[in-house]
Symmetry: C2
Subunit: 454 residues, 2 copies
């Protein structure tokens, strides 16, 4: 029979077993971290009716969507987790308790041009808090602590959460009489890190026709930097000239004030007036997260406050705040840059039992018993030579093997071999269990990311 070349589509990440265990470990930590903040898990369909998913319509996103018909139905694969959330909340409004805090970790689809490190199928890990009519500013203050805890639990050390407030920006541009152009200006200013101040200034005075005076004001404003206290102090000089600005500054002050109570060290947080988040969607606090040693990869966790989640589906005013981690790309970058912790046990089992007798009964009983102690145990039952059995254990990367021959069985013992040190000990079953459980504990304490201290 002619064989078909097996292949995985370009732009679709498919991991080898040991990588997958690393990835799953990251998933589990993120899930646990989001849960600790009282977010409830959701799992919405991958496919939605196109009219529902594309209610907002237009834009770059629409071109990238996987859209197709099945029977009479016009269907699309979700391209983010926010639109399905909006649908869900509008649909289940009366059954939910507000503020509604949900997390969702799932795959989304965008038919982008394939290139290295860009994916067409990728995981997003989102949290959102949705209020009914109102939502207190303290929710915006809590977000940096969730970002901080999550990345710290993953093992990342050298990162910084950058925060701004759209009201400060909107208020500032209103002071200059530039409200109409503020969208264009912010989109330009957002590129500051990439294109530099001179090019930004050239675009502002050139393409956007902003006066030299105002351009100078804008550049001076977005270059305000220093400690959080210094930035807030510099912003206070603009106070009293615009109500929106004053409100934004008040909100930013609240976010900064709560940092310590939330356990976020100042080293991992910065007010950064250059951040606007390109979307018109955001209306208050906005967040980006930078890896200090890899600014080139851009923000690894972003989001912000919005005023109305589900305006296409309901008259209800549903303000919210949310962030999203692009997990597939993050994992790609971490692996690419050597951040994955190689000390982690990524074998499918904690111990491989090698029966040295024809009767597999004792090996199976031992495995059953180890599993009752939550030890991941596999019996190697193929009829192969000892050397091949050990070579299998090596290829799996299991931390332990147990040799079980006539001698061990008659003594009621097991030979536990540490595959790292090569040492082998004759132990009682309980002693072997204790040693493996100890290894599990040490492994659980490892983080999937290994970042050097500064």
């Amino acid at each position: 029979m002619a064989k078909l070349q097996p292949r995985t589509l370009s732009g679709f990440m498919e991991l080898l077993p040991s990588q997958q265990i690393q990835f799953d470990r990251m998933l589990a930590i993120i899930r646990q971290s989001f849960s600790l903040y009282g977010f409830t898990p959701l799992d919405t369909p991958l496919i939605e009716a196109s009219e529902v998913l594309l209610a907002k319509g237009g834009g770059e996103t629409e071109k990238q969507i996987y859209r197709f018909t099945k029977g009479d139905s016009d269907l699309s694969l979700r391209f983010d987790l926010t639109v399905p959330l909006a649908k869900y909340v509008a649909m289940n409004y009366s059954k939910l308790a507000f503020p509604f805090r949900r997390f969702q970790i799932g795959k989304v689809y965008r038919g982008e041009r394939a290139q290295r490190g860009r994916f067409r199928e990728f995981y997003q890990a989102d949290i959102d808090v949705i209020g009914d009519g109102k939502l207190d500013i303290s929710n915006e203050a809590e977000i940096p602590s969730i970002i901080y805890r999550t990345f710290t639990a993953l093992g990342l050390k050298r990162f910084r959460i950058c925060v701004n407030n759209r009201k400060i920006l909107n208020g500032f541009y209103a002071m200059l009489g530039l409200t109409e152009q503020s969208g264009d200006i912010m989109r330009t200013v957002d590129k500051l890190d990439k294109i530099g101040a001179e090019t930004v200034a050239a675009i502002l005075t050139g393409d956007l026709g902003i006066s030299q005076k105002n351009t100078t004001e804008i550049l001076r404003f977005i270059s305000i930097s220093g400690s959080n206290t210094q930035v807030l102090a510099a912003l206070e000089e603009y106070q009293g000239r615009n109500e929106t600005f004053d409100q934004g500054l008040d909100e930013l002050g609240t976010v900064v004030k709560h940092l310590a109570a939330f356990g976020v060290p100042e080293s991992h947080f910065a007010v950064d007036l250059a951040i606007a988040r390109g979307l018109d969607y955001y209306t208050g606090t906005v967040y980006e997260t930078a890896m200090l040693d890899h600014p080139e990869i851009g923000s690894i966790c972003s989001g912000g406050r919005y005023d109305n989640l589900a305006e296409y589906y309901t008259e209800k005013q549903l303000p919210g705040v949310g962030i999203s981690i692009g997990l597939t790309r993050l994992f790609f970058v971490l692996e690419d840059q050597g951040y994955l912790n190689e000390e982690l046990n990524t074998a499918p089992a904690d111990v491989l039992i090698l029966p040295m007798t024809d009767d597999l009964g004792p090996a199976i009983e031992l495995a059953t018993s180890l599993r009752q102690s939550e030890i991941r145990a596999q019996v190697y039952s193929e009829q192969k030579k000892f050397k091949q059995k050990m070579s299998y254990a090596d290829k799996l990367g299991v931390p332990y093997t147990i040799l079980l021959g006539e001698d061990e069985i008659s003594q009621g013992k097991v030979s536990l071999k540490d595959m790292v040190s090569g040492g082998q000990k004759l132990l009682s079953k309980d002693e072997a269990i204790a040693e493996i459980v100890k290894m599990q504990g040490a492994d659980d304490a490892l983080t999937p990311i290994l970042d050097r201290e500064e």
Copy 2:
């Protein structure tokens, strides 16, 4: 603005928060159970090239597939997890250690006619062991123990794993000179439970033109029942007449023999000669799992031994054995039949902190501290009346609230309110943590399914 009716597609399960937590708990238990047997997690793309996914071609499945084009690509959504596994193993053959043991829990897509309890998007939870050239029979013996452990861990009690061996069936039909018709016969016999012995006999003698004598033989054969020992003894009477039969009987004997070592009680296991699994795919042991009180829902976990996983992609002979749980349908049935354990804590948080002061600082600090003890804590920070705060706590279903007012703060204490008993205690933070952690432990010991003992 005109609003669009938010809706979820028919045949797509979308759960409310408390249901989702139940479902996720089941997922976590299944994942853990599979891991304990040394299966490694895989996560393959939802979308594959149609030529790859449909290499086998034809059949009912193809009509149900979600197939579409994007740019120049002919794409399909996966309809099971077996074909992607075959592709994966063929593609990564040189990088995998054989036997290769993998589990995958993921959504698959079939555009079936929508009806109650049938889903177009549904989770499958699969395990497979793939050998390179050969695979020892003990792998087939291990499968019932995995099924037993998994359902027991979920809380199911009244179920039975039914096992047969295709070689016994093939050998038996060869004895009667009915090899050519054995496929048709087995498909008919497979319906025994649904249509009864008389109708089966009528189809055999009628549509299939089997002689009266052979029909009597067949009915006698498939009605062999009793304890495993009795069934094996009855089968021994056919021994020595056909080599395939003898090999199948030997394999079945091995599977039964290892049951005790694997910890499977005889009460939960039965040799059942009526089981064939409709597919030509299977070549050795086959499995079905029945809920004793709900035979009408059919098998909740099925699979078997096959000789060649990836023949469409590679010349390598890759025999394997695997089973699959249709999780979405199982969850639907369990909920529908009242099997879900209502005692389970399905709230998004273990404790809701209600700050009774304007300054949220102390409440936030307390939440941060609780989270460090792995307690899921939420601060209720909306400015609402006390009654509304308590009503929110009720709606979330949190087991505890903590009231934190001036008095508590000045004494360095918290008021912990048990939302079930209604009791309220003034405790130190550490005492409150201890009580909540104790509740978590009790909750962890609960199973998501609550099945009555027989």
